[in-house]
């Protein structure tokens, strides 16, 4: 009875704490500018189904895709097992779903294989990440915390799966011994072999089974609350993030309506100049981004497929699209903490540009969309880079000298080069 009470309190506390953190993230995302991404729901559902649910874009790289698929399917399905654990925990039952008989046996059979697949996949991921020199795991933005974060996730998953299999192994052995309440239930294709190395004493086996059970459930609840602090949040946000994908062709960059009004007034003097105050051209800080850009930042799992495909990064330039996303998230978290502390945002003399993302990074981008194409969860680092460029040019008039010269040529001659408009058709008579 006492363990039921402890379990129940733990569960409620974990869920409340998670809800609080999820609320904070939702609030932070809402700091972004409005943008309508709710049109064409059928198309959006289709994208979400293919890209997030179906892992479509992962399969650009078959080996990690397959391993990731194991972890993903394992995670999704083991949630059914989690449901049983929660019910058992609250009501003090044991294997409450076992009344399903052979279907239950099939479920446990499948979970065991999946748990093994998850465990092995995570082990391979751990080796790939830490021992093999894979380009996308080597960026300077991954040093320190992001590297630790990744390893914490992998080790936790390995431990959780080991605990699950250990629990089953002890349970199986107790079932064989006929020790109440361990009635015959389930099929144990993996853990039956693990049972061989377990001791024969029923007391010890019960202790092992209980310890694994508690470790597993406490681990899962702790992991749930680790999500909002970690890149692992992608397991939840991948779904809304792909649903709200950009549907227009990748080459289409949105036009700024505030500029349209001014340009129209310039071209046609009979039109009145727009009176509305324009808050800002382009992006100086995270609040100038759209909520989708901010959702992108929280969804990024730092896999680095974007960076590994970025022509600037490949050729040794400072730009890394992954770092753009990580910087955006870091700055957004900082802004969020500021708001939590001061109720409203207090100026901290920092901004996304310069304090997080340097000019050299944004000017190295060729806008080639390789990063956008590669992202397995449809994140768009290019929109952020473009917003920062717009701020640098339109608010500060600060850009590479040759770029400013190009603007002058465009304004004077209608061409980016210094040739006269009148010479434009000279090629027709040469």
């Amino acid at each position: 009875m006492i363990s039921q009470v402890i379990f129940f309190c733990l569960l409620i506390f974990a869920l409340l704490f998670f809800a609080k953190n999820a609320g904070r993230i939702y609030r932070n995302i809402k700091l972004g500018k409005a943008e309508n991404r709710s049109d064409r729901p059928t198309e959006r559902l289709k994208i979400m189904t293919l890209v997030a649910f179906g892992q479509k874009k992962m399969f650009k790289k078959p080996l990690p895709a397959l391993l990731h698929l194991f972890v993903y399917v394992g995670f999704c399905i083991i949630n059914i097992e989690m449901l049983e654990i929660v019910i058992d925990g609250v009501f003090g039952t044991h294997r409450v779903f076992s009344f399903m008989g052979s279907f239950y046996n099939f479920l446990i059979f499948a979970f065991e294989w999946l748990a093994l697949a998850v465990l092995l996949s995570c082990a391979v991921f751990f080796v790939r990440r830490n021992m093999l020199h894979i380009y996308r795991f080597g960026g300077r933005e991954l040093l320190k915390w992001p590297k630790t974060d990744a390893n914490i996730i992998l080790i936790t998953e390995i431990l959780l799966m080991a605990a699950f299999l250990g629990m089953n192994a002890a349970d199986y052995k107790l079932q064989m011994l006929g020790h109440a309440p361990y009635h015959l239930a389930g099929a144990f294709p993996v853990s039956q072999y693990l049972a061989i190395i377990l001791p024969d004493s029923a007391q010890t086996l019960v202790a092992i089974e209980r310890a694994c059970w508690w470790f597993h459930i406490v681990g899962v609840l702790a992991f749930l609350n680790y999500l909002p602090l970690s890149k692992h949040l992608h397991i939840l946000l991948a779904f809304p993030n792909t649903y709200f994908s950009k549907l227009a062709p990748k080459g289409k960059f949105e036009n700024m309506p505030s500029v349209t009004a001014e340009v129209k007034a310039m071209l046609d003097p009979t039109l009145p100049a727009p009176t509305a105050e324009i808050s800002r051209f382009g992006v100086k800080d995270v609040q100038d981004l759209t909520w989708k850009n901010l959702l992108d930042a929280y969804t990024c799992t730092e896999c680095g497929r974007c960076t590994a495909a970025c022509p600037a990064n490949i050729t040794g330039k400072l730009l890394s699209p992954r770092k753009i996303m990580m910087d955006t998230r870091d700055r957004l978290e900082e802004v969020g903490i500021n708001i939590d502390k001061n109720k409203v945002f207090q100026e901290d003399n920092k901004s996304l540009i310069d304090d997080y993302i340097t000019r050299e990074e944004i000017w190295a981008c060729t806008t080639c969309n390789a990063c956008v194409e590669q992202c397995p969860v449809n994140i768009n680092p290019l929109e952020i880079i473009m917003g920062l460029r717009q701020y640098a040019i339109m608010e500060e008039s600060k850009g590479p000298a040759s770029v400013t010269a190009m603007f002058t040529n465009l304004e004077n001659n209608g061409a980016p080069w210094k040739y006269a408009q009148a010479d434009r058709a000279n090629w027709t008579n040469t």
Binding site: Q390, V403, P416, N429
Partner: protein, 264 residues
């Protein structure tokens, strides 16, 4: 090389009370860059050969504003765009073909929101449809038979607008040895000139992007690399030159290949 035929402007046509069925948007590179001018002329030869009623804007054309927009100058972009839209509407233009993927992308995707609604195609798409209609077919014994040819996808044609097949269609008709680069189609590597990089020095790094791309081309052992963008043309030619491979590797636009294969 003097054109043996007249290239009409929209203004001339209007004076004769006519409107072109197709407007050829030449673009700044196509107008001023000597190498790109050769592509421009070949497109005119193709248009002339198949008898399409086309025109250019001539001195009335202005930059679409693409480099300004990608460099962050929305004002200059929209100024250019609105002036161009006014001129195009003045000539009642409905359909546009262009040799520059940057012009293509901008007019197709970014002009509608400013009131400019035109059907825009890239010259490779026009050539594809002309091949499909049987109006263009390689002449016997053309220059490309048996040659090892590869194609470099321009970002603003490929990834940005998902035009991957049209340029390849041209090469497929050639009876040549076609190969794909290690990075191609949606995984293609940028030439290094997009996003206004064409007009500035690259940021410091280990190497320039066009050199990385040229290495892909050299590794493919192709003797001809087909381009479909004047910026890519410049970057790839520079790369081939710096690698001292000019004798072995030729960079040609899809339009040039079409014109030569059809002996125009």
């Amino acid at each position: 090389m003097e054109s043996t035929f007249h290239i009409p402007t929209a203004a001339e046509m209007l004076a004769n009370g006519e409107t072109p069925d197709l407007l050829f948007w030449v673009g700044c590179a196509g107008s001023f860059d000597e190498r790109a001018q050769r592509i421009t002329r070949d497109i005119c030869k193709i248009l002339n050969h198949v008898g399409i009623k086309y025109a250019i804007l001539g001195t009335e054309e202005g930059c679409t504003g693409d480099p300004a927009k990608r460099a962050g100058n929305e004002f200059v972009f929209q100024m250019q765009a609105m002036m161009n839209i006014q001129i195009l509407e003045g000539y009642a233009i409905k359909k546009i073909v262009t040799a520059c993927p940057h012009c293509f992308n901008t007019i197709k995707n970014e002009y509608p929101n400013l009131g400019g609604h035109f059907e825009v195609i890239h010259h490779t798409q026009l050539i594809q449809s002309l091949i499909d209609e049987g109006k263009l077919r390689p002449a016997d014994g053309h220059a490309f038979q048996g040659k090892r040819i590869t194609y470099h996808d321009p970002c603003y044609l490929g990834r940005a607008n998902e035009v991957y097949e049209a340029p390849r269609k041209v090469l497929e008709t050639l009876d040549a040895d076609l190969i794909e680069l290690k990075r191609c189609k949606s995984n293609g590597l940028c030439c290094g000139a997009g996003g206004a990089q064409m007009f500035k020095e690259p940021e410091p790094g280990n190497k320039d992007i066009n050199m990385e791309r040229t290495e892909d081309i050299i590794a493919s052992k192709a003797s001809i690399v087909a381009a479909a963008c004047p910026f890519c043309m410049t970057m790839l030619r520079d790369g081939v030159k710096l690698k001292e491979k000019e004798a072995e590797i030729q960079v040609l636009d899809i339009a040039e290949i079409t014109a030569r294969a059809n002996k125009l």
